[in-house]
């Protein structure tokens, strides 16, 4: 239905997005995952015809949308990364405003506003001024105003940044419900891999403007099929221990975090007892040693050598 072909954007000398290829079919929830600065927002802006690509094409129903984006604009609802609302107006006034610019009027507008307020759970706060809302409520309204014109495809740019876990869950559930009940197609951008993992059928992972992996969750995780992850937790780290881990010839990669060391090793190797022994030798007390099935986070780590959220 919607297709990005070799989409690229250069800002001065910097490649914000390089040769991005992507497709979205009706009814799917697609995840676009990547750390800050990966180029997600730039990609979305090109896709939704807000900025012109340096190169490449956006195709909707097999027609290029670069020069004449009207058919695409009609069917998309974009939730920007920032809170794009009039904070001095009430929730309902914002909805009326954004409904009106989509030419909704009268009872039709009113019905739609009631319906969307219900969906985003703000019915009882409709008369309140947005400035007084919590971060989560603003985010919900930010999503709501993008749904007033019944878009077929909703494009969300990090819709859960900086809010409490409850609001976050609420938003995730809402997205899932909209997709199930109304067959709404969703492009969901995030740097939280657990959100994308929870929501999405297919996932694109970007880093530094490049697409580094794509496919279903399972397909992507199969990238790591030859490896597994061991997570080690301890009160404090001993340099000797870390050094010994890194020197070990069977270990593919060691990442040291604040409370956790992640070790990636070949699938067939059993290192459990070896790690315990190393800790004893280094006189270090371990809290736990887990062998984990790979997550998208691990895939990212594997592909880039960096954590998603650094």
């Amino acid at each position: 239905m919607l297709e990005l072909v070799d989409l690229s954007k250069k800002f001065k000398q910097m490649d914000a997005v390089k040769n991005l290829n992507m497709f979205i079919e009706k009814g799917e929830i697609i995840g676009l995952l990547g750390p800050n600065g990966a180029g997600k927002s730039t990609a979305i802006s090109m896709l939704s015809s807000l900025i012109e690509p340096t190169k490449g094409d956006v195709r909707f129903q097999n027609k290029s949308m670069i020069k004449h984006p009207a058919p695409l604009r009609k069917v998309i609802g974009v939730v920007p990364q920032e809170i794009a609302l009039y904070e001095d107006l009430t929730a309902e006034e914002n909805m009326r405003f954004f409904g009106r610019i989509y030419r909704l009027r009268g009872t039709q507008l009113k019905k739609k506003i009631d319906e969307v307020l219900e969906q985003i759970g703000l019915t009882d706060r409709r008369k309140d001024i947005v400035k007084t809302f919590s971060g989560g409520m603003k985010r919900r309204l930010n999503i709501g105003v993008a749904m007033l014109h019944d878009p077929e495809i909703i494009i969300m740019d990090e819709p859960t940044v900086g809010i409490d876990p409850q609001s976050r869950n609420y938003i995730l559930e809402t997205v899932k419900r909209l997709n199930k009940e109304k067959q709404m197609t969703v492009l969901y951008t995030s740097h939280y891999m657990e959100e994308v993992e929870f929501l999405c059928d297919r996932i694109y992972i970007m880093d530094k403007g490049n697409l580094i992996a794509s496919g279903t969750k399972d397909e992507i995780k199969r990238i790591l099929s030859a490896e597994k992850t061991i997570s080690i937790q301890a009160e404090r780290w001993n340099d000797e221990f870390i050094e010994e881990l890194k020197q070990n010839p069977t270990v593919n990669r060691v990442t040291v975090g604040e409370k956790e060391i992640t070790v990636i090793i070949p699938k067939e190797v059993n290192m459990f007892s070896a790690i315990i022994r190393m800790a004893e030798n280094a006189d270090m007390e371990l809290h736990s040693v887990d062998v984990q099935t790979p997550t998208l986070e691990d895939v990212f780590l594997h592909l880039t050598g960096r954590a998603l959220r650094d």
Binding site: S45, S48, S49, L50, I51, E52, R73, I76, V78, P80, Q81, E82, I83, A84, L85, Y86, D88, L89, E93, F97, F98, R100, I101, Y102, R103, I129, V145, A146, H149
Partner: protein, 370 residues
């Protein structure tokens, strides 16, 4: 577009405080700083010698800023004082004067000073004439002329003309301040209404509207119309207050005065757009606006008459300053009473500046965005 305007009005009604603040400040500054000149005390004056009414003394008294001297008969004078319609009166003699005091007040010593000064100056002039030993009338006149010429060319000169209305006299100084502060403060009101374009663009509000069926030009027009409206509303309120509450009659050309404010407000809207297009963010805008508006006011003659500015450089700068032309137009119409044709030049400059700044501003803004 109507929707955008409606939203803006709603927000304005919900939060009119900045607007009211700047409106109040314009009025307050014009009133307080020019305050002492707003009303004058009326003093009945009488003289047995009719010639005094046309004399040097009488002319001097007329120049007084604090008092208005009305020529009356002796009886009228006494009646006015005893009825309490006037605090005090003056009887002028050829070389002396008398006061008739009804109510003793601080005004009394001021009145005495004013009258005494007139007589002293008359005496000085007579002495000068005697010293010049002028015999013939023609010679006398010449000496007086020379004297006046020297007095006329001090370091700088402020053109004066007076503003009369039925119950108060506004000196052009006060008038000047009214115009100056109005034109100055309205820059803030307008600028802070254009600024949201920048903020709304950054926050993605504009993107939302761009994706909707609303056209981009409609957004610009709605925003500019709204900024213009609020700026104009402010000057309108200020001038209405001065016209109907303070009682300034604008030479009877109030409507024309209001009309010629339009090009000025338009040029300031355009200037604000232009500045908005140049700055990086709202903070930079907030920092730069006071600098621009204050310098515009200083070299445009809002704080003091442009005539006292001597630096060539500043004078050159004042030629590209909308405020200079705004003052010129207002002074022309309301103070000097020029016909409209005579202020067409500054009006066209304002309109031209407006069109150019707006065109360039919007162009820059669009180019930066994509």
């Amino acid at each position: 577009m109507i929707g955008i305007l409606l939203a803006k009005f709603k927000m304005f009604l919900r939060n009119p405080w900045t607007f009211l603040l700047f409106t109040g400040m314009s009025i307050g500054f014009a009133l307080i700083i020019g305050g002492s000149g707003l009303t004058t005390i009326s003093v009945p004056v009488y003289s047995e010698d009719a010639a005094i009414q046309q004399s040097f003394i009488s002319k001097k008294l007329e120049e007084s800023e604090a008092f208005t001297f009305n020529w009356v008969t002796e009886n009228e004078l006494k009646e006015e004082i005893s009825a309490g319609r006037a605090e005090m009166g003056v009887i002028l003699l050829e070389d002396d004067y008398r006061f008739i005091i009804g109510v003793d007040s601080p005004n009394r010593s001021m009145l005495e000073q004013t009258v005494r000064a007139a007589y002293t100056e008359k005496l000085q002039q007579e002495n000068n004439l005697a010293a010049a030993d002028a015999a013939t009338d023609a010679e006398k006149e010449k000496v007086l002329e020379n004297l006046q010429d020297t007095m006329k060319s001090p370091v700088f000169e402020i053109n004066r003309s007076s503003f009369r209305s039925s119950d108060a006299i506004i000196y052009d100084d006060t008038f000047h301040r009214l115009f100056g502060f109005t034109l100055f403060f309205v820059i803030y009101t307008i600028a802070y209404n254009v600024l949201p374009i920048l903020v709304e663009k950054k926050d993605g509000l504009w993107d939302r509207i761009i994706l909707s069926p609303v056209k981009k030009w409609e957004m610009y027009v709605a925003n500019l119309v709204y900024s213009f409206f609020e700026g104009y509303l402010q000057v309108l309120i200020i001038f209405l207050i001065f016209r109907y509450w303070v009682g300034v009659d604008f030479h009877g050309r109030f409507l024309e005065t209001l009309l010629v404010l339009i090009p000025y407000v338009f040029s300031i809207v355009a200037l604000s757009i232009f500045i908005t297009a140049l700055v990086k963010n709202a903070q930079a805008f907030n920092a730069i606006i006071p600098i621009i508006s204050v310098s515009m006011a200083m070299i445009g003659g809002a704080y003091w008459p442009i005539e006292i500015v001597e630096s060539e450089f500043l004078l050159a700068l004042s030629k590209i300053n909308p405020l200079t032309y705004g003052m010129e137009v207002l002074n022309g119409i309301a103070v000097y009473g020029y016909p409209l044709e005579q202020v067409l030049f500054p009006i066209s400059i304002l309109l031209l500046m407006g069109v150019v700044l707006m065109g360039v501003g919007i162009h820059l803004m669009e180019r930066r965005h994509v």
